[in-house]
Amino acid sequence: MGSLRFEGRRVETRDGDTIGSALFRHGVRTFSRSLKSHRRRGLYCATGDCANCLVTVDGVPGERACTTGVREGMRVQRETGWPSTEHDALAINDTLHWAMPVGFYYKVFVRPRWLWEVAEKVIRRTTGTGTLPVTAAAAPKPTRYARVDVLVIGGGVAGLAAAAAAEGRVLLVDEGQIGAAASDPATRAAIERFATQARAAGVELLERHAAIGIYEGPSVPLVGPDELVEVEAARVIVATGAVEAHGVFPGNDLPGVWLARGAARLAALHGVSPGDRAVVVANTDDAAASVQTLRDAGIEVTEVRGRVLEARGSKQVASVTVLTPEGRRAFACDALVLSLGWAPRDTLLRMSPDPEVSGAGDVVLPGCTLAEAAQSGRAAGGGRPVEPRLAEPWPILEEAGYVCVCEDVDVHDLEAAWDEGWTSSEILKRYTTATMGPCQGALCSRHLSSFAESKGAAAGAQGRTTARPPARAPRLEDLIGGVHEVIERRTALHERHVEAGARMDRSGVWMRPGHYGDTNGEIRAVRERVSIMDVSTLGKFWVAGRDARALLDWAFPLDVGAVAPGRARYLLALDEAGYVVDDGLLAALADGTYYLTSTSGGADRMEASLRNWADRLNLHVHLVNQTAHLGAINVAGPYARELLAALSQDDLSRAAIPYPGHAEITVAGVACRAIAVGFVGELSYELHHPRSRSVELWNALLDAGRAWDIRPHGLDALDVLRLEKGHLFVAQDTMPDDHPTKLGLDWAVARDKTSFVGKQALVRMAALPLDRKLVGLRFDGVPQRGAPLSVGERIVGRVTSCAVSDAVGASIGLGWLRTIDGAFPQALVAGDLRATVTPMHFYDATGERPRG
């Protein structure tokens, strides 16, 4: 014994109760209101197949009351109706059905246009199935991966028999507890017997995990209470059983109308009578067991065969009219129990036509006996797929009644849609939304195709609608399970940056210091004294082999042969269309090998490209990606050489390390490749070194640099420094279709080379007029990046980079500019500011400072 809180009231619960059984025992009959007409809806299938009993549990909407077990103190709330589910003023909609015909939202609220905005808000407030807790942080579940030889979905007799008979690693999964839902003794005994066999055969039984789809592979995601499981299986056996057919007749949605297994389950498992006087419409062999169960529970049962013509009642069913072989008969009752036929739960099975996916039991042999279920399970487990039994003719739809209870679509709606020209099951679905509710057509998809067939739909237009995942509704946090958006690459200096008070920013895949608290101070340190920056994120590659030069000559537009050992050269990377995709530096080593760098974000693409070309051209080249292995620190500023001299015995003269060039030196005891670079426009040495020595080297540089009031600089300072120099950031300042001419980088292309990636495209593009290019800009204020550049009313470009530069004494930027009448305009407007086109090199135009 325990209790839950139901809309503020205490409700006693018993061991094994579901929310549905506890509330029903407590007297609750209306569990929800329907989507459109706000009709009362009660427990119906009690097997988790329909959506009548969706409630909010502890703030989480959309829980099925009929299958969710109770927990002490849980808070349960019904979701629909205003002001309450029990007393719903919007039930008036049921009398306004004529005003809301099928597809009405496509036809009304069209004019005036503002009407839809108003109507949409009202509709959203009055429909739906619960409110998402938008303030709650989603807690993604971990994802587990499993590989098995056989996955069996469904822990009934057929599934367990299949699992016991299968060979290899076998996993059986059930969305509930195995055997817990069986309401008759024979089924329970059979399940127990086969479960014992399966366990003895080493089958892993996984309960409370729902399969939500079958994907190519076959791959099956399972949603469990605390985890997601992605199963890759050589074979999948679907044994998800069948649900009794949904009956469509006037009044079919009244509380008190039940599917037989659900009613029996309530009585047998939870000791709750679905009513005092039940009429059981028993058109299946299985009905006898349900009738017996209900009688055993003390319910007065009238068993009848025939077609249900109508059910009547206000708050719940009070009478039913059935067309029996003896004629039309009316019965007074408070429960109408339907056993009309079988609807295989075949959504999963229909998702995959692969031969590796087969069915067993009711899902392929609807209404089969226990013996047939076991036999089909053993056959499927042994790799002998069971031939599906042809479905019995589907119960004829009466002239009225709800076909899709989730979406409030009745027979009249289907008729109206058909008359409007929606004459196939697929487009009937889309127009009426039948089968698109929370049950995903579990009850009504056959009715839809049956309706299309009865109306004479063309052969290809009357089948079942396509089955798609999810077969069971997952929560949003289930969908994000296992997805970690934050996969950080950290340099060896990460902790040092954090200790130094850096604001760490995400820069592509890397975490990098944005600034250390004083961007302007960092800029001044580079321009006036000395500063260091962690550039370990750069892509770093060693290229060797007798064809190394041939590969690089082909892959890049620079003249590799002109790069002497000890020298370095800026390189552009183009694609075959001649567009700039990356840039970096190429250093020629003394032994005929090469060391090259790429942008931080371009390393993976650079490696892939080089390997691709080496392979395609069959070149004898060896490539080692040293990005992870090597750290790099850029020492920049007028006193960079003096700082290194304080820590190194090596020759650091311009002759020893020319600009641009490189040399192997030892700094503070750390072996480094020092590369003289000029990205920030000052004397700079990138010290490439083993990653494990990064902290030691960084600390030594900071210690020795005190004499020059050294400080590290971050990305924010770098953005200004390179902009002052007129250096672009690939991706930030470039567009996907930029060739070097547009960027002012023709000097980096050796056009006289016989061939290189993108050359033919460049030749063709050179014949075309240049209609867009990157330009330098000066502003009379502080613009925003991305601001449009315009001339009069005409937008001719946009600002890609901008900053207020103390070194230049102006507000500067880079931006795109298009021609007007064949000429590039010089005077522009950038938002509210005036902008003037200028040369891109704002600082040290002659380029002397990097040479020291």
């Binding site: 971990p142 994802t143 587990r144 991966y145 499993a146 590989r147 985890e227 992605e230 890759e232 296992g482 970690h484 996969i487 950080e488 690459r489 950290r490 340099t491 060896a492 990460h494 890397w510 060693w542 060797a544 082999g545 007798r546 004898h620 060896h622 490539l623 080692v624 040293q626 990005t627 992870a628 292995h629 090597l630 083993p690 990653r691 494990s692």
Partner: protein, 151 residues
């Protein structure tokens, strides 16, 4: 619960022709050879013998491919071990890869990053590029619920 420990391992890479690597006699010193690509092999060894392993590999490969690259890239890798009876189950929360048998190795996606996984007696050793060291640790602790054992 699986135990997670940082491992001290050394790694030597050899980039050479496929034929040369096919013919290469594995070095001694207990180094494990991981053929990670047709033209690349990694040699995983104890740190104290890494120089010996690198030298031996360099000597042997030179006779087969005179411009092969042999490089101690220990700094480029971070190694974690998952040990205990639950090691394989913990690993299944990190990767769709099948846990390798003892002395075998697999490579692919682990915690959504590229990794090499070595099967060893009683444990799995996972090698990831050094910049993902913390990422793997965090995912192993949070997703695989491994207990981190610090030295």
């Amino acid at each position: 619960m699986a135990e997670l420990r940082a491992c001290s391992l050394a790694v030597v890479v050899c980039a050479a022709d496929a034929d040369a690597l096919d013919a290469l006699v594995a070095p001694g010193y207990g180094a494990r050879v991981l053929r990670t690509a047709a033209d690349e092999a990694l040699f995983v060894t104890a740190p104290e013998v890494v120089a010996d392993v690198a030298r031996e590999v360099a000597d042997r490969i030179a006779a087969l491919d005179d411009d092969a690259i042999v490089l101690d890239v220990t700094d480029g890798w971070a190694a974690w071990s998952l040990a205990g009876d639950d090691a394989e189950r913990a690993f299944s929360y990190l990767s769709h890869l099948e846990a390798p048998a003892n002395r075998a190795f697999v490579q692919g996606d682990v915690a959504h990053v590229g990794a090499k996984v070595l099967g060893e007696p009683g444990c799995l050793t996972i090698l990831v590029p050094a910049y993902w060291r913390e990422h793997l640790r965090e995912r192993a602790v949070h997703d695989a619920r491994a207990h981190e054992v610090r030295p």
